[in-house]
């Protein structure tokens, strides 16, 4: 069995804010493999973005990272800034959410791409230029040569996102993290970008971590799905398995909240009731307890561990869905 490219082990990220501590990521563990796509799904505040930024050490100074992040065996937590910079853009690359603001408005597109090239390789200006155009064509940016000299505001959202992907690919990364990369785009463009990412992954053999709140997207493009809530992983399985037998009530609620065409018109949208958790004050017990339809006293007292309950399917719940066995009914109140 090949060693995983990236391995997170009990990652915790705390933020020091005006006296109290906010735990944004609370014991996250997963693996990412070459040529596979892992989807990190969760609401805002679930810790998915923070965990991704922790991998690349792009968090503000107020953050405290503990636990382990191993990339090809190298421990990233606590790695010197100089060595981290050698990895950023080079081996591990990231694509962000808002292409309108993620590109420097005062620099030309081409310059921003060639900068990524020059950082990690010793090439001449002409070579960098050609490679940049090559990358732009790789991400299917029309009229690449002309676009080279244009500014970000002259491109549409979808095109800008392609540029971001080109920048990310400039260093031939082995791991690409797409942080809500398509959230700000319209549905059609979204599909195009996801197709592009999948295609690139197949061609280049990268590991891809896609972060999103969109389960539908995960269903279509991911090999493995990890659902996060309040900084923890609450369910994880291969895509087929997860969507075949959803166990976590939270995941089920997320699925149920997606509007469906087959529903009758005027069907009430099943929103997840309650408020997202306040990460500063975490009560003991399951973090989803205040909003869970299946909640019992046990849930409020003890947090369920994330455990492999079925082969290839991990979840953290005392009362998983769809399991009509005696163990679940026993603790009904």
């Amino acid at each position: 069995m090949t060693a995983p490219l990236l391995e997170l082990d009990d990652l915790r990220v705390d933020f020091r804010q005006s006296g109290h501590v906010v735990r944004a990521v609370d014991g996250l563990s997963y693996q990412a493999d070459k040529a596979r796509t892992l989807a990190l799904i969760g609401e805002s505040g679930s810790g998915k973005t923070v965990s991704a930024r922790a991998i690349m050490a792009l968090l503000p100074d107020t953050a405290r990272v503990t636990g382990s992040i191993r990339y090809e065996g190298t421990e990233l937590v606590g790695l010197s800034e100089r060595r981290m910079r050698a990895l950023r853009g080079n081996q591990i690359a990231m694509v962000f959410q808002d292409p309108a603001r993620s590109l420097n408005p005062t620099l030309r597109i081409g310059a921003q791409i060639t900068e990524a090239i020059h950082i990690h390789r010793q090439v001449s200006k002409a070579e960098a230029h050609d490679r940049a155009v090559e990358l732009m064509e790789l991400v299917r940016l029309p009229a690449a040569r002309e676009r080279f000299r244009q500014y970000p505001h002259q491109l549409s959202g979808g095109m800008r996102q392609r540029v971001m992907i080109a920048i990310a690919l400039a260093g031939d990364p082995r791991l690409l993290i797409a942080d809500e990369a398509t959230t700000a785009l319209d549905v059609t463009t979204q599909a195009q970008i996801m197709e592009l990412l999948r295609d690139l992954q197949e061609r280049l053999g990268m590991a891809l971590i896609m972060i999103s709140h969109d389960l539908g997207l995960a269903a279509s493009y991911a090999d493995e799905v990890l659902v996060m809530y309040a900084g923890r992983a609450v369910e994880r399985a291969a895509t087929q398995t997860l969507f075949g037998h959803v166990r976590m009530p939270y995941t089920r609620a997320l699925l149920g909240a997606i509007p469906r065409l087959e529903n009758a018109p005027h069907t009430t949208l099943a929103a997840v009731p309650g408020q997202p958790p306040d990460l500063a004050t975490q009560p003991p017990g399951c973090p989803f307890a205040p909003r869970c339809p299946e909640v019992t006293d046990k849930c409020r007292e003890t947090a369920p561990p994330l455990a492999e309950q079925e082969p290839g399917h991990l979840w953290a719940c005392w009362h998983p869905c769809g399991l009509e066995d005696s163990a679940a009914e026993e603790v009904a109140v």
């Binding site: 933020f15 020091r16 804010q17 005006s18 006296g19 503000p60 107020t62």
Partner: protein
């Protein structure tokens, strides 16, 4: 897209904000933030006390009418903390009374600017249209007009004096406040709660008074505090040029002018009022900046 200078305030230096970063506080940080407001506020209060209250209740001799027999006493002569000047006036007293004069001018000019300029600017920003254009052009004229010409003119025509210095400097502060108020009003006007107020039937005047003014006031007050420092310096400049408060009545500016001639011989006559000016301006600047940090980091 509005050009960057429309709505900015030409002619007035606006020190930039230095706010403590979010989340980086802890004990020392909190101390710094608190020190940010209370220390300068205390300083300002102390300065006002010294200049306005202390001469009345304390043992401070008159700043004028000194006897030539006492002239040029050195510092720490009994009864004269900082000695006396060339005509026998107590230097400490001159500092305090001079400060009072300078502060009076600064307060008056700021008040006029705030009230007249603030109202004009808020009105212009709120109503827009041709009225806005007219008011702004008028203010532009005042800004482009060399304050110096006006100051000289007023001084020549009416004689130099405290009131006239106030007149002259107000020509400068009204447009400054006006432009700021207008810019702030424009920003506030776009907010949704204004639309909500109007939609629920609130009249224009009420909207202005109840919704616009409270929201532009913090900015105006911060500007006023920072402006105090600038106006005190300007008043000093006017008095220095002989156009402000005329001797023998002291003002920090004319004290410096008088001391210029004997700078090498007796530097204290320049250094003392300079230091007083400096401390006062720093206090106002610090206060203004920490208020601004407070308001924007809300």
């Amino acid at each position: 897209m509005a050009a960057p200078t429309e709505g900015l305030v030409p002619g007035v230096l606006e020190p930039a904000v230095v706010a403590p970063p979010p989340g980086e506080e802890g004990r020392l940080g909190r101390l710094r933030v608190l020190g940010g407001i209370w220390l300068p506020a205390l300083l300002v209060a102390a300065i006002f006390f010294l200049c306005f209250v202390w001469p009345i209740i304390g043992p401070v001799p008159s700043p004028t009418g000194g006897s030539i027999l006492n002239s040029n006493d050195p510092s720490f002569t009994p009864g004269h903390l900082f000695g006396t000047d060339a005509t026998g006036n107590d230097e400490w007293s001159r500092l305090l009374y001079g400060g009072r004069a300078s502060l009076e001018v600064a307060l008056a000019v700021t008040a006029v600017g705030l009230i007249v300029g603030g109202t004009l600017g808020a009105f212009a920003g709120y109503v827009g249209g041709w009225r806005d254009g007219v008011i702004m052009r008028a203010l532009d004229v005042l800004i482009a007009f060399p304050a110096l010409v006006l100051a000289v003119a007023i001084a020549e025509r009416l004689g130099p004096g405290e009131l006239h210095a106030i007149w002259a400097l107000s020509f400068f502060s009204v447009p400054a406040f006006g432009r700021l108020a207008r810019a702030a009003t424009l920003r506030v006007r776009e907010q949704n709660f204004i639309a909500a107020a109007r939609l629920s039937g609130t009249g224009h005047v009420r909207t202005l008074l109840r919704h616009v003014v409270p929201n532009i006031l913090p900015e105006l007050i911060t500007f006023a505090l920072l402006g105090m420092g600038i106006i005190i310096v300007l008043e000093g400049a006017l008095s220095f040029l002989g156009l402000g408060i005329p001797p023998p009545a002291p003002s920090w500016g004319n004290m410096i002018a008088q001391g210029e001639g004997i700078l090498s011989a007796q530097p204290k006559f320049v250094l003392l009022p300079s230091a007083a000016l400096f401390i006062t301006v720093v206090s106002f600047n610090l206060l203004g900046e920490s208020m601004r940090a407070r308001w924007t980091a809300r």
